[in-house]
Symmetry: C2
Subunit: 415 residues, 2 copies
Amino acid sequence: MDAQRGPVTEPTPPTSPVASELHAPSAPSAVIFGRSRALRPTGKVLPEHARTHNRALVLQTLYTAGAQSRADVARQTGLTRVTISDLVGDLIAEGLVIELGQREDARPGKPATLIDVDRAAFHIIGVDLSEHEVFRGAVVGLDGQIIDRDEIARAGATGEAAVQLVEQLVERLLARTTTPVLGIGIGSPGVVDPNGVVRSAPNLGWSDVALQERIAARFALPVHVGNDANVAVLAEHGSSQHDDLLLVKVGHGVGAGLIIGGRPVVGGGFAAGEIGHVVVGTDGGPRCACGRDGCLETWVAAPRLTAQLAELDGDGATDTDAAASARDDILREAGRRLGIVLAPVVGALNLSEVVLSGPAQLLDGAFHEAAVDTLRKRTMAEFNRDLRLRMSEQAEDIVLRGAAVMVLSGQLGVT
Amino acid sequence: MDAQRGPVTEPTPPTSPVASELHAPSAPSAVIFGRSRALRPTGKVLPEHARTHNRALVLQTLYTAGAQSRADVARQTGLTRVTISDLVGDLIAEGLVIELGQREDARPGKPATLIDVDRAAFHIIGVDLSEHEVFRGAVVGLDGQIIDRDEIARAGATGEAAVQLVEQLVERLLARTTTPVLGIGIGSPGVVDPNGVVRSAPNLGWSDVALQERIAARFALPVHVGNDANVAVLAEHGSSQHDDLLLVKVGHGVGAGLIIGGRPVVGGGFAAGEIGHVVVGTDGGPRCACGRDGCLETWVAAPRLTAQLAELDGDGATDTDAAASARDDILREAGRRLGIVLAPVVGALNLSEVVLSGPAQLLDGAFHEAAVDTLRKRTMAEFNRDLRLRMSEQAEDIVLRGAAVMVLSGQLGVT
DNA sequence: GTTTGTTCGTAAGGTTTACTAACAAACGTG
DNA sequence: CACGTTTGTTAGTAAACCTTACGAACAAAC
């Protein structure tokens, strides 16, 4: 009974070198385990990759916890003081970290030299192309604060004209800061692939536009491009406690950004989060531009809701109570429809947090309540007990800040 | 215009050592980027971790591509022949890899010594607790082939009695092989946490049962426990080309297993894939045991479908054509309901592959067709053009083999 | 039969990385 | 003031992978 049990740590003795008779050279075989993830490391790992990783770990520790001594960082990361000193030395030489002088509080021992990410050393350019009327951009600090902003009217521009508007906007933003720029982050509507090619953005008339390449070539800076909702969820993730997070962005259309296990989800066709044209319910619904009835967008897209509410006002409601009630009915139904679509997603992913982003006057009331209520009624309470559905706190700047997060991740973090 | 642009590779000159006046020791600050993934490496990485990774890479390469020379492995992995020789030396010493003698085909140069994973060196014990009437188990080869199998009638056992049945089954399986056993993999219904504790499995009367600990202590072997559907999707992933995969397991209940970006999804409450009690549609439905109307299980769980079909036979259909048609109607409606639930998930994740596992006589016909049809009608064709919904090819043994994959991953792969 | 070129696997030595051990500096405390 | 504590650095070591170099073994061409 014992001979047959052999954990890897106590292997069987090495086999005879020539065993070709015993084990016929196996053909590539059935190998049902072939693609098992754990057995499929992404590629080789060299010591220098470890170094890169640890470097990012130090940066992250400083960034999150704020100014502290090298010894503090060592304790937090588990690396030794020696190694931390070495890594910090590199980071200081690169201008990413600075010494802030000695710690002031009274403790025994040699006083600590405080170090921190040099939060004033770089700015980031964030650009939001998701609004229908205007392209907005900002100079963003490393801590996410908006330092300066600018915008450029879209005026219906599409195709190449729209690309040139983006270039103009970036140019103007770059002129507004004298601090070195870490990179440019752009949140675009539509389907964006990992190379920053906008595969398809009907509103902008874009199809396979190599935006990342264009902007990078023009400004000689690192450029990152992502879908607007996927970018927005990055900003939200910063202030969230959870590693699984779904952000629903209600605007001209409806899109979602998804983070699972701390990693953004892109999807096989790079179209993850495109839930605007999923059909809701089994009772029909308004005709959608895509040709079907009852797409999510027909229920909850901002222009639709606004139009419905305007129609209500047009009916000239005399009683203000009744008007408010009718208004809430519309918003409640929209929220319910969103809940119906989200329920299967929340159930399948066992999500703990869903965030709503969009016009507060539309979403932050009856809409929100109905969505929460519907979600609870349609998922298993036992599994989703601690589910939260909340409004985003990032308001209008969510894409701008998310774009900045994308740059920070891409430039300073582990790829 | 140039001074302000500084990629990390061309940083600003180091700041003066004492800059405390310029940069007030920043409080932990707003830090909206704080939890950005790329900036939040999981922990320190030491050179030995790189070694572990590369070791797994070599194993994976051999496992997938079959017998080959050290030089072949070097070319495939990108590591040098020297390093590969070193790693392979370790693996041979551990008994995981064997030399098979010289390559026979005629080529210039020194003939290659073929090496391969020693596919006969270990067996794996796989256990499937997901069936209602019986616990099934098997001795599984490293390539996933079922070498021997056994089962034990559950006879309604719950709680401690059920645990003891699992122990008996494992004991009997271990007695059926004289080959060293790499580990024991168990697929259980219910919610299973990463430590192998079954948090909740109502059918088995389990609540916080430390199954992994129990079995590991009893047999002194590595043990891995997972949810049955989550385990099943591992088996399917082996034969799939995609890194995003959803498996729907229809049996006594309905559950799903999900792999995104090559990684299993567990969910915040470890209940990912529990879609059986998500409400389908907006037109009510049969009353569910959980108290609500129209849960997915009320539409597609195997016992429900079987009962509906039996009822049909009970009506004594004389015309066989009409009977077949009525039968298909029932299955079609069930398939449609599944499609309705899956559509938002497929849309949100931009899934490229969905797999059905369960009784073929129920699923592989009208049910399947209706599910495909519904899914296409309810998602955006443009984004999900290459979506496939197919039956699993693993049949009854999917959980057994998935459990074995779990062990193989856990014992030989990167954690 | 000899030469040439190729391929394989190994050996030797160097570089990078992070570790342990040890220490000086600087501080509070008794 | 002696002592313990804490910080950050220096020196040396171990691990991991690299480059370079080499012998062995073969096919192909002469």
